[in-house]
Symmetry: C2
Amino acid sequence: MTAHALPDPADLGWALGRAVQRYQDLAARKLGALPSGIRGFRVLSTVAAGSGCSQLEIATHLGIDRTQMTYLVDDLATAGLLERQPHPTDRRARTLVLTATGEELLGHLERAMAEVEGYLMAELSAGERDTLRALLLRVSVAAAAEPAPNGDALGPCAAIEQLLG
Amino acid sequence: MTAHALPDPADLGWALGRAVQRYQDLAARKLGALPSGIRGFRVLSTVAAGSGCSQLEIATHLGIDRTQMTYLVDDLATAGLLERQPHPTDRRARTLVLTATGEELLGHLERAMAEVEGYLMAELSAGERDTLRALLLRVSVAAAAEPAPNGDALGPCAAIEQLLG
DNA sequence: AGTAGATAATCTAACTGCAAGATCATCTTT
DNA sequence: AAAGATGATCTTGCAGTTAGATTATCTACT
């Protein structure tokens, strides 16, 4: 390793990417053999939070493709953590409910993931952690509310085509 | 869409994931035909920042696998944005330098990506944006400094194997 | 009523991106 | 000079994701 210390970039994209990489790595280690890993956990968590939701609602809430949701639910169901039930008002849709095992495991998982978050933000004070969480949450809630980014406000960078022509 | 409003989770992982999804979507739109998209931009940016760095140094700094770096550099080189040059002190390694076109384009790209960041954080005030950037940067710099997460401090969740057995 | 279009879930098939392993040249250490 | 480590590259294979078609059901319009 030569002595060229690369400067820490002020790039938000770099920071976001690195933080996510780290988070996924830690979480994968923590979750071990949980079916579908982090996504499995998030599905369980969402099912517990919003009862009576269809698979599609959960998928869009988590930003997951609808075709993946099938396999995700399959995995969690065969592991005995949740069940598909007929939707009360729409016979096309399925409602997901946690099994007793799923409920119990979710409790453990939430504590485990809280550990991961704490480890990820080990550099920050308690107050700073809350601030980071709150700011990031506001950004993400807004992002999730606008699923289709209407490109009108943000056109492509014109110089690219021009200089690559 | 039924009326089951899913509660906004207080989950840092959810927020991180959604923010990154959004960022990548906006950036992809913005960067258009730039070879390798966001990663291409980040490589260009890093090459400009740290002169004389080897490919491997850049890859580890960006969290990219070394085997991918080859193709990334290939794409950017054939697009005429940078060049491989022999490393001054290590004949195994290559040094990357931007071409004139690469320099010019990078200027445009930096402005374009600043727009993306602003758009992503549209909900936040100027001060809050700086705070978010700073906190996230501290977390990520620490994460990048500890590349191999020694699992000693963070063991796997024991309840998983137990309840899935 | 009845018909046309939209929607929820699923399946198939294909594509993309990423990663592990081997290879070659070169550096470092002994 | 020999042995092991390292930078870059290539090959191969897998995992994760997406597009398209299918079926059943719902909604809206005539």
